[in-house]
Each structure stands twice: as C-alpha cells, then as structure tokens.
C-alpha cells in the first residue's frame, strides 16, 4: 500500500516575509533588520480612496505577534471618548486579531497589511460617526459600540 506523506507546515522565515512584502506591497520598505530575529517595515496605507494616507510601521519579531503602529498622522481620540477602539494604549499598537488568528505560518503581507488597512478604515468611520462598525471583541465597551 502506498504511504501518504504529508509535509509538516513550515513557519515562514523572515527572508520569505521580506520577499513577499516586497512583491505584494513594494511601497513598504524594510527599515530595520536583525538577521533571523526581527524586521520592521514602514509604508503608507490609504484604506479607501477618500481616506487619509497613514504612514504605518510593521514590526515582526520571531516568536511574537506582529506589532503595527501608525506613525503619521497621529491617531486622534474623538470628543467624548476616553481612548481609541481596539488599540493597545501602552504600546501604541493596533489590536488587529485574536491570538489564534495569527501564527508564524502566515504572511505579514497577506494578513497584517490588509488587517491594518481595515482597522484604519473603521477607525476613520469611528472618528466621524462615533460608531465602530468593524466588530470585534469587547463589544460592550463604549468606544467599541456600533450605534
């Protein structure tokens, strides 16, 4: 009988991540690279045509979830709200996904960049309307509410 062989999925190496980013999002440039340890890209995201353009830093350290920071323009808290929705205030990073939704088998270019773009779109709508339409956890928090 024929033995079926299933290859074990391999984690995406940093070099592969960098290559995929350069193909998918050439506007994103590598700003820092610690060989086999960590990489930081900086590029610009305009989530929809009417949106503003955001200079975005994506930091990937082997073994950790990617961190996304918006460098410019500075994200603003709308009047009446106490903080930004789905945002880690302490580290200044976006909360893009639940722990299980990211793994080292995934590509930053295919997941993190579009997730950041989605986040920015919903942030803009939230800033204009006060309503977070992007769903997510902790929907009972005032700044996460859709009205």
């Amino acid at each position: 009988m024929e033995t079926r062989y299933y290859p074990k999925p391999h984690r995406v190496t940093l070099d592969q991540q960098i290559y995929r980013m350069s193909c998918q999002h050439p506007g994103f440039k590598v700003k820092a690279y610690l060989r086999q340890r960590a990489v930081t890209w900086v590029g610009r995201i305009r989530p929809t045509p009417m949106s503003d353009e955001y200079t975005t830093a994506i930091e990937l350290t082997v073994g950790y979830r990617p961190k996304v920071r918006i460098l410019e323009p500075v994200l603003r808290i709308r009047d009446g709200a106490s903080c930004l929705p789905h945002y880690y205030t302490e580290s200044g990073t976006l909360c893009l996904h639940e722990a299980y939704e990211w793994s080292s088998l995934l590509n930053v270019a295919d997941c993190i960049v579009p997730w950041a773009s989605l986040w920015l779109y919903f942030y803009e709508v939230w800033f204009i309307t006060g309503s977070w339409e992007g769903g997510g956890t902790h929907p009972d928090k005032p700044e996460h509410k859709a009205t």
Binding site: H86, E101, S117, G135, T137
Partner: protein, 397 residues
C-alpha cells in the same frame, strides 16, 4: 445605491472593487457618489412612509367620490405632483413632516363651473363632513391641506382639465384673485423624466469600452437615471440649510429642479452631474449679468417660475448662494483630507452625512464577514486579481 455583491478588493493605497465590475469604492469619485446616494436615501421619504402616504391619499379619494358626496358626480382622480411624483422628496430640516402635493382632478371642464372658488368650496365642504379630516383641515390659497401629525402635510390641489391648452393641462382655483390659474404637473413630470433619461454620447462610448473589460449588470440603467434626481435632492437640502435664516430668499424647489434638469448633461455619476449642473448655472448667471436669469416652466413656456427674482435682492441672494455652493463643491471635488470632506458634506446637507458613512461601513463590514474581501498590491486596483483576506477579529483593550 451600490449594493455589495461578488468579491471586493481592498487596496493598500485606496480602492475597493467588486469583482463583477460594479465599483463600490474603486475611485474617490465612486466612493463619493456612493456616499451622496446614501445621503439622498436618508433625505427622501422612507418607503414605509411612502406607502402610508399612498394609503392616505387613496382614502381621501374614496371619501371624495363616496356616496352622498357633493363632488362625486365630478369623478375626482387624485395623483401626486411635484417632488412626490418625480422622486425628489427631501425631508424638511427641523421637523419630521414631509410636504406632499396631490392634484385632485375633476372630470368636468372648467367652463362648466360657475366660479373657480366653487370647486375649492365643494372639496372643503365634503372633507368637513368627515370627522377625522375636519380636524386636520386647513384651507390655503390654492389648495386644501390635511395635516397628519408627525407624518406629513398632504396638500390637495382641486383642479379641472383644460383640454384646450393641451393634453395634460389643468386649471386650479386661486382664492386671492378668484380666478383659474393654469398648471400642468403631469407635463412637467414627463419633461423631467425625459431629462433624467439623457446620456452623454462620450460617456456612453467610454462605458461601452469599460463593459468590454468588465461586465456591467443591467441595473446600471436605473442608477444612471437617478443621478439627476439625486442632484435635485442635494440642491434642495443645501437650499434649506443655506437659507435657513432667510427662508424668504430661498429659491423655490421648482426653480432648482428645472435649472438642474436643464443643465444636466447625462452623467451617470452624481458628483459629475452636480459639477456640470453648477457650472451650467454659474455660466448662465454670468451671461445674463447685469440682468437676471429666467427659468420658464417647460410644461408652460409662458410661466416664469423665477418671477420672484424680479426683486433684485432675491436674485442677489440666489447668486450669492450659488457662488458659495460652487466654491465649496470645487473644494470637495479637489480631494481634500477626509475631515475636510466630512466638514463640507455636513455643511451642505447636514446630519445625513454621518449616517451615510456609517451605512457605507456597514456594507463594507458585511462583505468582510462574508469573506469576500481581497487585498491587492499598492496602487493596482483590479477586479479579478488579489488575495483573499483571512478573517480577523479586532481584539484587545
């Protein structure tokens, strides 16, 4: 209204496209058009209210032609006129009630009536016989108004056919002058609908080219007709806000509607239509200076709809308003920062702006939940290529 169907592509550098060729947010213009269409939907009479209005006017009609009615022998027919007829209703600024205009046409020639006022008198008399209508009734100069609290005002304009003047012509009694006044609401509506249906030949050929590349569904036709109606709604709303403190100087709806229809060039896009119409009006103002522009009723070329502009102050107020609107509109089209666009839209049409952004985001989110969002590389907006975006849940904090 753009519906989300098929796959949607989210681009890093702006642009969201559906894969069957119907662009949702593919360019700044189509995103703005989508917002404007949603704003207009907020402004117009809601479908449930529309049905309610239809039910109410049918009830009035039944009462007028019912047994024992003094006007029953005249065989009245009631039909909508004005914005209700042509689909350009706009919710008033500070109250809930829409104004809805109906014509109650009697099948008896005007010449057989002793006095124009008899007609109005008979209608009022018959409505007073009804317990409910008696309390809602208000007699105006040319019409009878029924007030439905928190719903709408129904203005019923009694009229007689005037076949000598033309097919759909009618005459209506005027209480102040005690005479008949000519009118032709059906003729006006069909002129307006004809204007809605025009298309630019250049635009058409461009669309045909696009159609070769990406299939365009058949519904497109109704959307392209709607752009003039949307512009009329936006102009009326702008008028209500701009002239809020000087409402006597506000241009009347029929003047705005006629001007918009005259300078409409058949663009499918609401924003392009608005740009073309505004520059048309602005050019007409320049050409007419130092005199004023005249807006004649296309269904009755003898009627100057803009007769109020004989008063130079009224005309100056109109020119000032249009000039202001043109400059603000130009800024909106010139791709300002998002906050600036929001501020301009809010100044133009008020609170429906936020609701429009919210609803656009809601459709976007629905597409995301349906796993049809795709991502493409920076700048390149394509309807067919792109990588599906994995599901994610915004988390934390």
């Amino acid at each position: 209204m753009f519906a989300i169907c098929g796959n949607i592509t989210l681009s890093v550098n702006g642009g969201v496209v559906v894969d069957n060729g119907r662009i949702l947010l593919g360019s700044r213009q189509s995103q703005l058009d989508d917002l404007l269409a949603r704003i207009c939907e907020e402004l117009q009479l809601a479908p449930s209210r529309y049905d309610q209005a239809v039910a109410r006017y049918q009830a009035v009609c039944r009462w007028l032609e019912g047994e024992g009615s003094i006007v029953a022998s005249y065989e009245p027919t009631i039909y909508p006129q004005g914005s209700m007829r042509i689909g350009t209703t706009v919710r008033p600024l500070e109250r809930e009630e829409h104004d809805l205009d109906f014509v109650c046409e009697f099948q008896v020639p005007a010449c057989q009536m002793e006095s124009p006022l008899d007609l109005l008198k008979h209608v009022v008399q018959r409505l007073r016989e009804h317990k409910g209508y008696r309390e809602q009734l208000e007699v105006k100069n040319r019409c009878v108004r029924l007030n439905y609290a928190n719903e709408f005002h129904m203005d019923i304009l009694p009229a007689c056919p005037d076949p000598e003047s033309g097919l759909d012509c009618i005459v209506v009694p005027d209480r102040q002058s005690r005479t008949w006044k000519p009118s032709n609401p059906r003729g006006y509506a069909s002129w307006f609908e004809d204007r809605c249906a025009i298309t630019i030949s250049v635009e058409f050929s461009q669309r045909k080219m696009a159609a070769d590349a990406e299939p365009i569904p058949a519904q497109e036709a109704s959307e392209e007709k709607a752009s003039l109606k949307h512009v009329v709604q936006l102009l009326k709303r702008w008028r209500d806000i701009y002239y809020q403190k000087h409402s006597d100087e506000a241009p009347i709806s029929m003047v705005l509607t006629t001007l918009a229809a005259q300078y409409f060039r058949g663009h499918e896009s609401v924003s392009q239509s608005m740009t073309a119409i505004l520059s048309g009006i602005e050019a007409a103002i320049k050409v007419s200076a130092p005199g004023r522009i005249y807006v004649f009723n296309p269904a009755n070329p003898d009627e100057d709809l803009s007769e109020r502009w004989d008063d130079p102050e009224h005309y100056a107020a109109f020119v000032e308003g249009i000039t202001h609107l043109c400059s603000v509109w130009e800024q909106l089209i010139a791709s300002p920062a998002l906050q600036k666009s929001v501020d301009i839209l809010e100044a133009l049409v008020g609170e429906p702006t936020k609701e429009a952004f919210k609803k656009q985001a809601r459709d976007f989110q629905a597409a995301r939940n349906a796993s049809v969002l795709k991502s493409v590389s920076a700048g390149a907006i394509s309807a067919t290529v792109g990588n599906p975006i994995r599901q994610n849940t915004f988390h934390g904090n």
